[in-house]
């Protein structure tokens, strides 16, 4: 009984909720159908799991919720549950006459949002709409919290935890914080610590993305991905849940893309910007305080001087690391270009290239053509990064934080001034600054971009330090990005915007702050980043700005997520001086 309407419900929600019931018992199917109809739901029944999957696949948005029995002849109910969760991301309710705790637990583990015992009462069915509603709320919340997540992620460095996000209810931010704290001392390597939960590090994620692209996004399955990834300690379930998030992320990305928030918008109000001044000791010209962005990017304790070209001493001193972090942040900030380039791909790549890829091509706005999106972003990022890149000097010493520190400069606007600054050259920066390709593009092209991303990273205009030296211009990258008038960068918000536009045009109008996306995504929570918002970095204090910055840009060392520049506010880059992300 599917009605053709795509919209699940009419004004009288939850009436019209489109329910798909799967049960091999015809008696139950008949009864459930009646009961659900009595709730004014729109019911479709099927006897077999395969049939259900076909129905779901045929009409991707044709159902709001699935109710399935646990025991079915052709397919295990849990398996169906998994499929639905991964492919369609619909809430699934399991039911069974058997209420054994182990079974119920298994259901929850596989992602069921509820487990009903037969005989099912009417009142239980009347309430199933809450699962649909809850999911929607969480999605919205995710989007809203993107920035925060990004900030957190950046703080955390590249370590991402795969925190069963699929079990809604969890507060992403708090989770992330926890994770970040844990990761503070972590060795940021690729999946360095096999924790209780899988930590999807940049490197790991990159592998994942690679595998996905190799297989073909439409044909992916956890098993295939797992096989391709060739990570011994990773389980199929880890991949499955990550894939789910990835899909979610991509779809959010798409949404974000559509929204296309203009510059900034990322408000990371949650992140109290660390006092940049403190961190940026060296910055001569950088008055971190000025830039909210700086705040946002505070690399804890890092003397993000990046801007301070002179101070770049690439000798792996802490400063550098911090600088790196900051640069990253800045970059991220830049990246937060409105382009929502959440290219997860680039993300992955970025990470890979974090390792000082000297490959960061100069920041000049030359976008390597290979990446469709990543490149674009890169170019742009580069531009923006310029100022950040200066960090490079500092970065050179930066211990390879591994992919985490890849600063994705997706969005660097091709502000020439900036470009010069951003000499993120991976040359020393272990954590190459990756320009995160816009996710949006990513989505569509990411498969192809996957590789480009890598190259993109290389092309990342890692400006030499000299460029970075330009603190002013450097102005917290975020600032730059925020287009506030960066002191050196002239990246006023308008600039930023225009830069972004440039970027966008360069790469893909859909550029969304890739960083954000990536960061967020890696976090295991694919909230669409507010890329558009990144443009507003202006207010560095606003953590929102950070959101744009791919978390991996953040120096894990610092693990201190500063309040990113508030993208929405005018970027007080000017005020802030060099914001060293």
């Amino acid at each position: 009984m599917e009605n053709g309407f795509s919209s699940p419900r009419s004004e009288s929600f939850p009436a019209g909720l489109r329910v798909l019931v799967v049960d091999d018992d015809p008696t139950w199917l008949k009864i459930l159908e009646k009961m659900l109809k009595k709730c004014a739901y729109d019911v479709t029944t099927c006897h077999l799991a395969r049939e259900a999957l076909n129905l779901l696949r045929e009409r991707k948005d044709g159902y709001d919720i699935v109710i399935s029995d646990v025991n079915m002849p052709d397919m295990d109910g849990f398996k169906l549950l998994e499929h639905v969760g991964l492919e369609m991301d619909l809430p699934v309710i399991m039911m069974s006459v058997d209420g054994e705790t182990s079974k119920v637990m298994k259901g929850v583990q596989h992602g069921a949002c509820d487990y009903l015992l037969k005989p099912i009462r009417m009142k239980e069915l009347r309430n199933i709409w809450q699962h649909v509603f809850r999911k929607k709320i969480h999605e919205i919340r995710d989007i809203e919290h993107e920035n925060i997540d990004i900030i957190q992620m950046s703080r955390n460095g590249s370590d991402l935890s795969d925190d069963g996000h699929m079990y809604c209810g969890e507060d992403y931010n708090s989770k992330k914080r926890k994770d970040f704290d844990k990761n503070d001392d972590k060795d940021f390597g690729d999946h360095s610590t096999k924790k209780h939960r899988v930590v999807w590090s940049v490197d790991l994620h990159q592998k994942f993305v690679k595998a996905v692209n190799q297989i073909g996004f439409d044909k992916v399955g956890p098993k295939k991905i797992l096989d391709l990834m060739n990570v011994p300690w990773l389980t199929r379930e880890n991949v499955a849940s990550h894939l789910q998030k990835y899909r979610l992320y991509l779809s959010r990305l798409q949404k974000e893309n559509d929204l296309k928030a203009s510059f900034g918008g990322i408000k990371h109000s949650d992140f109290p910007p660390k006092d940049p001044a403190a961190s940026y000791g060296h910055q001569s010209s950088i008055s971190l305080n000025q830039n909210d962005v700086a705040n946002g990017y505070q690399f804890c304790g890092s003397n993000f001087i990046a801007q301070d070209a002179d101070t770049k001493n690439p000798e792996g001193d802490l400063k550098i690391v911090s600088e790196m972090t900051e640069i990253k942040r800045t970059l991220t900030a830049d990246v937060s270009d409105p382009q929502k380039a959440r290219s997860s791909q680039s993300f992955g790549h970025s990470f890979a290239s974090l390792e000082t890829e000297a490959s960061y091509p100069a920041f000049d706005s030359t976008n390597p053509p290979e990446f469709s999106w990543s490149e674009n972003t890169e170019t742009q990022v580069k531009k923006e990064l310029k100022p950040h890149l200066q960090l490079e000097d500092g970065y050179s010493q930066l211990p390879p934080h591994g992919p985490q520190h890849q600063i994705q400069m997706n969005q660097l606007q091709s502000d020439p001034a900036v470009t010069s600054v951003v000499s993120l050259t991976g040359r020393d920066i272990s954590g190459s600054i990756e320009i995160k390709p816009l996710f949006t593009e990513f989505k569509s092209k990411h498969v192809s971009h996957v590789s480009p991303t890598e190259s993109a990273i290389d092309t990342f205009p890692v400006q030499t330090k000299s460029q970075l030296i330009n603190h002013q211009s450097f102005e917290p990258i975020s600032t730059v990005i925020s287009s506030t008038k960066p002191q050196g960068f002239n990246l006023s918000i308008t600039d930023l915007e225009s830069s972004q536009r440039n970027l966008t045009s360069a790469s893909d109008p859909n550029f969304a702050p890739i960083n954000e996306d990536l960061t967020v995504w890696l976090q295991g929570d694919y909230y669409s980043m507010n890329f558009g918002q990144s443009i507003d970095y202006i207010d560095y204090d606003d953590p929102g700005f950070l959101a744009e910055v791919p978390f991996y840009l953040y120096d894990p060392l610092t693990a201190d997520f500063q309040c990113p520049i508030d993208s929405t506010t005018e970027c007080p880059i000017v005020d802030q001086g060099l914001f060293i992300a």
Binding site: D25, T27, M35, D69, V97, P119, M122
Partner: protein, 149 residues
Amino acid sequence: MVGTDLRQQLNNYIQSMRDQGILDSQFQSVQALKTEENPHFVLETITGFCSDADNGIAQMTRYLEGPVVDFTNLTGLSHFLRGSSSSIGGVRMALACRDLRRASEANNKQGCIEGMARLKHEYNSLKEGLNNISQIERQLIGNAQRGRQ
């Protein structure tokens, strides 16, 4: 009035079955699903259930009485019938199914034989009661239809 008497008769009968534990409140939940558009809902449900149960029990008997006991299928089918019987409120039968399944999962042939016997017994009680209910139901429906005419 006949209608009222019949209805009362039906309710009394159902109550007695509930008192015996053969049926639980689920049966009345099913009854509540009956609508004017579908007055035969309860009848259809009972018919469907009985058909499935007849077949299922026959099949399980074959699994049990074969040269080699097919515990796997026996387990699956006993679980299925547990669900079915619970759908119309046949709680005692459902419990018998549960116990049979446990015995089957343990590859306990003797346990299965005993469980099977009990299951059949419970099913027969339930079936008889459902048949009686169906009879009254049919009369009620008939009367209602005649009343409308």
